[in-house]
Amino acid sequence: MLGTLLRRRVRTFSNTIGHWSRYECLRNSAFGAAGFGLLFGLHDGFYRLLKHLSGIELIGLLLTWKLTAMLLLMTFMMVVVSSLLTALTTLFYSYDLKFLLKAPVSLRAVFLDKSLESAFFASWMIGLILVPYVGAIMRVRGLGMGYFLAFSASLPPFLLLAASFGIGFTLLLLYLFPSARTRDVVWVFSSLSLTVVYGLARLAQPEKLVRPDALRAVAEYLNFLQAPTAPYLPSWWLAEALRMAAEGDWRGWASRTAGLWGAAAAVYGLLMALAGRIYFIGYSGAQEGALRRREHSFRLLPEQRLLGMRSAAVLLWKERTTFFRDVKHWSQILLVMGLVFVYLFSIRRLPLDTAELRGLVSFLNVGAAGFVLAALGLRFTFPAISLEGRSWWVLRSAPIDVSAVMREKLVFSGAPMLLIAATLAAMTNWILETDRFTAWLTLGALLTVGFAICVMGVGFGALFPNFLVENIHQVESSVGGFVYMAACLFYVGLTVALLAAPMQMHFAERFGTGVWNSRPALYAGAGWLALNAVALIVPWRLGRRALENHE
């Protein structure tokens, strides 16, 4: 029976590819090539890092494997947290579950089919990142394709084991508390876990690996290097397997890999046995709606007091109400807070000794913080139109213009985005004790970047709407999301390049090596205005037209 279930996936996949139009073939090939380029860039970065580490006398090898163990531990934890969310949606809320559970298929077969799907979606992207890293190890150490095959044999059970934690946890939680409210708890818990994992990864200060002088004593440093990184977790077993394979100890590699496969088989066997007893109880409970009466007073809405009786006010009220009632969305705020904290922590840890260096970093912060804002735009602003979902007909058939809907989305995500932009700029400048000119320039630049990223987010979101998506991740990882992110990065890069001219003159003036020259400053200012005009107008207009014609 499981074979039939798996065959339907293969058939769906082959039918999807078989029905691609010429345009879709070209488009997907282009994005495939872009993805490959991204992986190659990562590989190059990893190669440079590992080359540098291996060049350090005596401890170069130790450093490489320590970094590998830390990376695998991070990968493991990311897959665990990611699987919490995917297990929840695939095991308990997939559209096809009603069909599968009505069919004469054993519950265990459905569970295994869905848990494999969950493990795949939780791990494929994170697992893919390991490929360029392993490629870098192979290049640095001159290893052949046999090593890559060994890695390919050891990776799947590692990812399956990581995903099994999330699957098992969700299974048990829904069994013990079979209600829709548990779904909300899992969402908050996973967002919180991801924030903690992210924060811990930063607080572990991996930069110490490349700066041995940062640790007080050599003995302390060597202890840090030699200590196993979480030896009871599969990440350490995989790190050991990779190390042994690299050293030609194939017997050691085989025993570690067999251990990983054995553990994966045992854990999934246990989960299957457990699922036969408890899966349906959890599934049944998860379908029950959480009833909690909310009385609506027909008084003026807060937005109406602020904006008057225009449709914009009621659209904004609807957006605010639905956002804060949907735990999937508001729980992401925890991640944003974690991101801002880690960002500012990283700024604080930078070894900057001179005022000029601090000024330079403050300026470059426009680029780095711009990247953070673009990532937030991809998560919150870009999907906003698509998240109207199947209720889009309500707005489309109502007597309002699509521009009104777009403006409302802009206001709703623009206000917090500007607050975050201002926080990142002001806090960074305060930490770095930046001079007044640089502080005002970077604050103004980041506020403009934040606003433009929001406008582009709504514009591109309207240009690539998908009202049939099941979750926000499908919107983010779509072609439109890729185009939006690429446009944002291009915009941020150009902003930094254009503002470099006044910054250069400011530095020259401070060092006494030059004075302000109005012509380059004028050109830079005009270029910056033109860039923002294009960023603010073009995606918005294209998006509005696309949304008006959307079918």
Binding site: G289, R294, E295, T322, W393
Partner: protein, 250 residues
């Protein structure tokens, strides 16, 4: 009140609707029938501004939908084939939202929402999130939403699906009363009995074209089926002769 002039829609090389001419007058209930894939929902979507026609135009209360969509939409209420509504709003909040979108004064919203909720027996559920509503409850809520702004034109795509018998009867009576007050109603349905009893005129669509249109008597004349019911007329017009052969596969 509703006028379709040479309306057409192509999806790539496939014509979903071709050269559709139709007029629905004030106070008239027009039934729109056809087999699955005939182009009924595509027509509804073009009439309500959810799809752009490839050819022709839609006039709503004398207003060209393409030229003046806001005013045209204000005169119209839609019940779609699938009543998807915001899952994180309550029933009362949804009606408030619809009222505000269509410019109903707040005093009227305050008065009408409880009345409509009571009429559709949704009062016990008015404070619950819509994600906990059944299909029929959501259908009733969408109907309450269009009654709140009291449009001159109703466009209904399978409005009876999911309704219990009592609600179904109520909705039918509402349509009849609204028509008497001068509302033009355009209704897609597969329930021939409802079309037969409720509609003043009926149009039958096959393969994107209107193959028959008129009163029941006129349709009988067109199908040359004297004294037969709408089901027989429909089957004869849509290839009913092959119907008996289909049963061989059972």
């Amino acid at each position: 009140m509703i006028r379709l002039e040479g309306l057409g829609k192509d999806f790539g090389a496939h014509p979903a609707v071709s050269g559709l001419d139709l007029e629905v007058r004030p106070g008239e209930i027009f039934g729109f029938l056809g087999p699955n894939g005939a182009g009924k929902t595509t027509t509804v979507k073009m009439m309500t501004g959810l799809l752009k026609p490839t050819a022709g135009r839609v006039l709503i209360d004398g207003l060209d939908l393409a030229a003046d969509p806001i005013a045209a939409k204000r005169a119209m209420g839609l019940v779609p084939d699938e009543p998807f509504v915001y899952p994180k709003l309550t029933g009362a909040e949804y009606l408030r939202f619809i009222g505000e979108l269509y410019g109903v004064p707040l005093a009227d919203i305050r008065r009408r929402v409880p009345e409509l909720l009571e009429m559709f027996e949704l009062v016990p559920w008015s404070g619950e999130l819509l994600e906990s509503y059944s299909h029929g409850m959501r259908q009733k809520l969408v109907l309450a939403g269009i009654l709140l702004h009291d449009p001159k034109i109703l466009v209904l795509d399978e409005p009876m699906v999911g309704l219990d018998p009592k609600s179904g009867r109520l909705v039918k009576d509402i349509f009849v009363r609204l028509a008497r007050r001068g509302t033009a109603i355009f209704m897609c349905t597969h329930v021939l009995e409802i079309a037969e009893k409720l509609c003043h005129r009926i149009g039958i669509m096959i393969g994107g074209r209107m193959v028959a249109c008129g009163t029941l008597d006129e349709l009988r004349a067109q199908s040359r089926k004297e004294g037969r019911d709408l089901e027989s007329i429909f089957l004869s017009l849509t290839g009913g002769a092959e119907y008996s052969t289909l049963l061989r596969h059972l």
